[in-house]
Amino acid sequence: MKNRKSRSMIAALALSIALLSGCSSTGNEGNTGSDNKGASDAPKSSVSTEAFNKTGLPIVGKPIKLTMMGAEDMQRNWEDLYFFKGMEADTNIQFDFTTLPSSSYMERKNLAFASNELPDLFFMGGLSSNDEVNYGAQGMLIPLEQLIADYAPTLTKLFQDYPEIRKSITAPDGHIYALPQIADHPRDRFLRLFVNGEWLKKLNISELPKTVDEFYDLLVMFRDKDPNQNGKADEIPLTGDNKLSYIRPIMLSYFGYVSDFIDVSDDKVRFVPVQQGYKNYLTLMNKLYAEKLLDNEIFSQNKAQMTAKGENGLYGVMGNSLPVFGGKEKQVVPHNILDNPQMPPLVSEAGATPIFPERDTIRRGSFAITSANKHPEATIRWLDHLYTEEGYLHAQYGIEGESYRWSDTEPKYIEYIVPEGMLENDFKNMKVSNLGYGFANEALERKFLKSDWLGFVLNDQVGQYIDHGKKAFPLTYFTEEELQRVNAITVDLQTFIEQMEAKIVVGQEPVSKWEDYVQTMNKMGVEELVSIYQASYDRWNSAN
């Protein structure tokens, strides 16, 4: 009897312990990746016992360890990267990394703020302007302008050379809460709409379209004349990445808009989906869809499916960062870029001079220091180092003698020291970095790279856009009150527009229905939204 009693007691205890430990372990589950140790090789210089050096390297005498959070899609460990090892060797600052795939990053970033469990540093942190204003005002992101003035000579100089940077990253309360990545590359300023060069040759087309009508004719020819010569009418003349989101701004530019939401024309903010030209855009897209000129699976397919169709040689015109017109053997750079031309800006009824959407090369919200950071001075110096040429070299090529060396040729260029049996691209992506530099432009790249590098080829190709490029909306900020209203209106509105567009394009609803939709959108608060954007634009404009 007694024996049975104690046995049952033990069972009860064991049960409760198992349950409790089960609970506590779920609490830690989310932290995968953060509990990795820092770079393996211990820092060599511990001569200086001074904790922090205001100038010169290393930044701290004794190594310090901070935490870092960022989005990462290539499934590599940041602690393995020569980039961070090189930075650590220079600065003595180590990091614990928390990286997440970008699909779940936004969620986790928001939760980090909501629970006030912050990393010391956001790196390639994808902070929106809303995040900066919101969490800056709440004190979770610390103001950087004084730190920059005191400790960051490279950044200070960069701000002097490019005055628009400071203007673009200063929040309405006058503080800078996050630093941008400056990718001053022509190739990144424009979306790309590639035309299948092989098909052009097959059909003896030597000139690309100049007007929307000619573009339409080209698509019809791609559909009807069997350019892939398999005897089947399986050609899909036009497609784009991520539903319509890649090609939408390009197509809208044919109707006089450079954004699918808000743009500015003559200092006046316009809400694009209620403009007459938007209806014309819908009409054209509906026609393309109905005549099977636009990929009929564009709304339901994912990127892998699109790529698969591209590798089967089904596409004629593709909006994507790189063209996929055939199998891997045809996707070899730079020929892939050189052989498949990009669609020039087109003339339409909207205007005799074509326009083309241009993106900013200042990527806001890339790096930010949080209130959890106990070493803001050292961190800002680490970031400042990132913007230097040495920082750029680490970020792109790693450590000299370990991951890269200079070639013996004249002129010299950088080559990776790729381990036996590894592809250069894999080595670059998995071991070095290809992650995030602070500042780069073509002049900088020219110092290190062969002149036939893909990026230069792409840079050369944007010539036809530069004169026609137009930015949708400047990099501005909203105040906190504005932000709340903008958020409240935008969520529903964007969902609504996406739905309406899809329904009209595939023909579930007639184009004439758009008039009713305009009424609904106005009811959803378009007017207020425009006035808030206008106020924000006016503030930006007067600061000019």
Binding site: S8, L13, C23, M106, N110, Q138, K243, F299, T495, V506
Partner: protein, 299 residues
């Protein structure tokens, strides 16, 4: 009270078994309820849940006045009513399996029907997308072979709810039948023997012995189902959603995800969640009261 403390002292081992479950519910299900107050506040992480400023019913008003309110409510209700209408399917499956006399065949049927339960939602959604693909999916290939026009199931709003509910039913009907099978096994065989001697047919035995025998189980599972009436499995809807079927696929849960986690509007979405739970709770109370009349209520 006196008898309770006496009982606890006497049977303390049995009460010790209660402790872990009780602790679990108190720690993870009751204590966090205090967070629901952010539905009436403007939550800011720095000020914390207690420190954020009260704003009353603003978030509720915003939700009730939002353009999508009626659509969300309609879709959520329709999908759930559809699911509820299929509630008897598991019972029918259990009754038929129970009638199978060959043990081997019985086990095979059971395995085949409940195996899909173990496939993850992500995989199921992927399978649905592949099978229903308008150009290469097996379903449309068959339709085309029979001379029909391919149907774009996944972008057609009219199809969404059927796809969602029927695929869910396919996945879970075998699993749902297990509890009924257990209840059926518990019916006293003497009842069947007596009925057989009296000349009752199979149908008569099913209707007069088996169904009444598992009625309490049916009622309890039905009430439990109603308790989560307004909750739709978020993952599967999100994975099957696209802008073309959104008018029939956007439900309260996906809306909460979109505006809560992605847009960081925690207070607003807490208000929506609270509203949702209040409806659930009200339904649960109502039906439990109704069920009490038949003596099969939860409490």
């Amino acid at each position: 009270m006196g008898t309770l403390s006496k009982n606890v002292r006497k049977y303390w081992q049995l009460y010790a078994f209660l402790v872990p479950a009780l602790a679990y519910f108190i720690i993870f299900h009751y204590i966090p309820i205090y967070g629901a107050q952010i539905a009436f506040k403007n939550y800011s992480a720095v000020k914390g849940i207690w420190g954020s400023a009260w704003i009353g019913f603003d978030h509720f008003e915003r939700f009730f006045n939002s353009y999508y309110f009626w659509l969300l409510l309609k879709n959520t209700l329709q999908i759930n009513l559809f699911q509820l209408a299929l509630f008897p399917v598991s019972i029918i499956v259990a009754l038929s399996i129970h009638e199978v006399t060959r043990a081997r065949f019985k086990r095979l049927v059971q395995l085949v029907t409940y195996a899909p339960h173990f496939i993850s939602v992500v995989v199921i959604s992927g399978m649905i997308l592949v099978f229903l693909d308008p150009s290469s999916g097996i379903v449309n290939t068959i339709i085309k072979a029979l001379g029909g026009d391919p149907v774009s199931f996944i972008t057609e709003p009219g199809w969404f709810k059927s796809i969602y509910v029927l695929s869910g039913e396919w996945q879970n009907l075998g699993w749902g039948a297990i509890i009924y099978l257990a209840a059926l096994a518990g019916i006293n065989p003497e009842l069947h023997e007596a009925a057989q001697i009296d000349g009752a047919s199979r149908w008569q035995r099913i209707f007069h012995i088996n169904i009444p025998g598992i009625m309490p189980t049916i009622m309890i599972l039905f009430i439990l189902n109603l308790g989560s009436f307004m909750n739709v499995g978020f993952e599967k809807i999100y994975l099957l959603q696209n802008p073309l079927n959104m008018e029939s696929s956007e439900v309260i849960q996906t809306h909460v995800y979109r505006s809560g986690l992605l847009q960081a509007q925690y207070s607003y979405t807490a208000a929506i969640g609270l509203f949702n739970n209040l409806i659930n709770f009200a339904i649960l109370l109502t039906f439990n009261r109704l069920a009490r009349r038949s003596g099969n209520s939860l409490w």
